[in-house]
Amino acid sequence: MKEAKLPASKAKRERLSKFTSFLFVLPYLLLFLAFLFIPLVYGIYISLHDYNLLSSVQPFIGFENYATIFNPDSAMNSLFFDGLGNTLKFVIFSVPLLVSIGLGLALLLNSLPGKLRTFFRTIYFIPYAISVSVVSIIFLWILDTNSGLLNMYLMDLGFDAIPWLTKQPFAWISLVGATIWWTLGFNMIIFINALNEVSEELYEAGAIDGASAWQKFIHITLPTIRPIMLFVIITSTIASFNVFGQPYLMTRGGPGDSTEVLLMGIVNLAFEERELGVASAMALLMSLIMIVISVIQFKIANRKQGGES
């Protein structure tokens, strides 16, 4: 204690201070290394090996797992690209709706009187709190062909029962619908925050110029919330890319393999076939595609903004 006060030990004190400061970061750093950094490196390592859990040796095979995935004659090729195609379909069907309806609800809530706004905001946000397995099971029940609530009402109105989960395009509609019900609230909340940041003065100026509500939306609201829009598009794309629980539980990949998304294929390959090497290679490729898509979305949004201003 006494030495620390001596002026001669300034360098020593600085070192001590750095050390005690480092202790603040250390616990997180350790968990970060153990459960993010090491898995990352280990994943690359596994993808370079013939890593079948059932065999006793897992030899190094270089990029052969990747080559197999890109070899059009191999079963891995169709597993990866069919799965990727189904995942992309889900992304394309769901993201525009998740973004536009999310924004629509935010606009609707913003035009309601204060108390009602809070009330409805809570109701629209509730499903976000529920787990994907509960959501999927509720919708399995509601969409049941023979005794589901939706078909009961349709038949009551004189329509035929619709095979919501066993025929296309209904299976996609069901998966996208359940997903919208489940996650829409989050996007809505983010848009509400964004709309509150749009300055009243701009709207007033617009009103003086005689702009209609639609013109104000296009020329004032949209440009102002563009960064948030980008954020919502990117996070919704990533979330939809990771889709797993809904098709796993609601359609089990069917009808046929039409909703067997890539992540389901990877999980199946790793835990049923125990082919961890190829599965890891696929997981890495999938992540790479996700990162590239995010970066492209970011670039496009930024370029547009630059072009206009």
Binding site: S21, P27, Y28, L108, Y128, L276
Partner: protein
């Protein structure tokens, strides 16, 4: 007059949409009080004709089938609470250190942490499974807790808060002879309470509701979480017993709904503060 009419139209629209959001949950609760026959026979009776608690008794007492639902609930709550406590503690420490203290290599550490926000879970879940498997730790609480603690989201969230925290308060305490640790506990943490609660609610919901990871990382019935447990039941012995399934999902939803409704305001405030603007 015209404005009033428009206002009423909007309220009606908002109410119809509200119904769409509530119907699935209301139907879940309604079905959970019907016997299997009444549920399957269909019909649109929202109030069960033969109101019964048998589904709850059956699933809660595990009569006939082995459904350790209390154990699953405990697993989920325990993993959620412990994980959240760890996340909040280590993230607050790290974020404060990086934002305010003379941590060596922080110019390198912070970007390294933040860049992992881009990394999807898909990359790490297979190797992480192998890591736990190699150490024989599958089907333990470690597997249900630690993988969530590495996420950099909380560090990012709190870092931004600590950056904008007024320096004067810390300096006044320093003059009074307080060390870093005391400043952190007595001054910084109390002022960061709202944002820490936000992180806690996000983390708890994330762990409690996660599906893919506990599905692949546990397979003993005793170590299932409630979300994976009910999914297994749906694919197993409860397949078309919708009354029982709805009782299970209702039970699984109650705790998270309570956390959500209590923490909702904080959650929304947190989303605003998290730099998403």
């Amino acid at each position: 007059m015209k404005k009033n009419g428009k206002q009423i139209g909007l309220i009606v629209l908002a109410s119809v949409i509200g119904l769409l959001f509530l119907i699935p949950l209301a139907w879940m609760i309604s079905t959970s009080f019907k016997n299997d026959f009444e549920a399957i026979a269909g019909g649109l009776n929202w109030i069960p004709e033969n109101f019964t608690f048998e589904n709850y008794l059956y699933t809660l007492t595990g009569e006939g089938v082995d459904v350790p639902i209390f154990r699953w609930m405990f697993n989920s709550l325990f993993a959620g609470l412990t994980g959240t406590a760890i996340i909040v503690t280590i993230d607050a420490l790290a974020a404060y250190g990086l934002a305010r203290l003379d941590v060596p290599f922080k110019k390198f550490l912070f970007p390294m942490f933040i860049s992992t926000l881009m990394i999807p879970f898909v990359i790490t879940f297979l190797p992480m499974y192998m890591q736990f498997s190699n150490f024989g730790l599958l089907n333990t609480y470690a597997v249900l807790i630690f993988p969530y603690t590495a996420n950099a989201f909380g560090v990012f969230l709190l870092y931004q808060f600590f950056r904008s925290f007024p320096k004067e308060l810390e300096e006044a305490a320093k003059l009074d002879g307080a060390n870093k640790w005391q400043i952190f506990i007595k001054i910084v943490i109390p002022s960061a309470k709202p944002i820490i609660w936000t992180l806690a609610i996000f983390s708890f919901m994330g762990i409690y509701n996660d599906f893919l990871w506990p599905l692949v990382a546990t397979n003993s019935p005793d170590m299932r979480t409630i979300t994976t447990g009910i999914a297994i039941m749906q694919q197993g012995s409860f397949t078309s017993s919708y009354g029982k399934l709805m009782a299970l999902t209702t039970i699984a939803t109650i705790p998270i709904l309570i956390v959500f409704l209590i923490g909702q305001k904080q959650l929304i405030k947190g989303i605003t503060q998290s730099g998403i603007k």
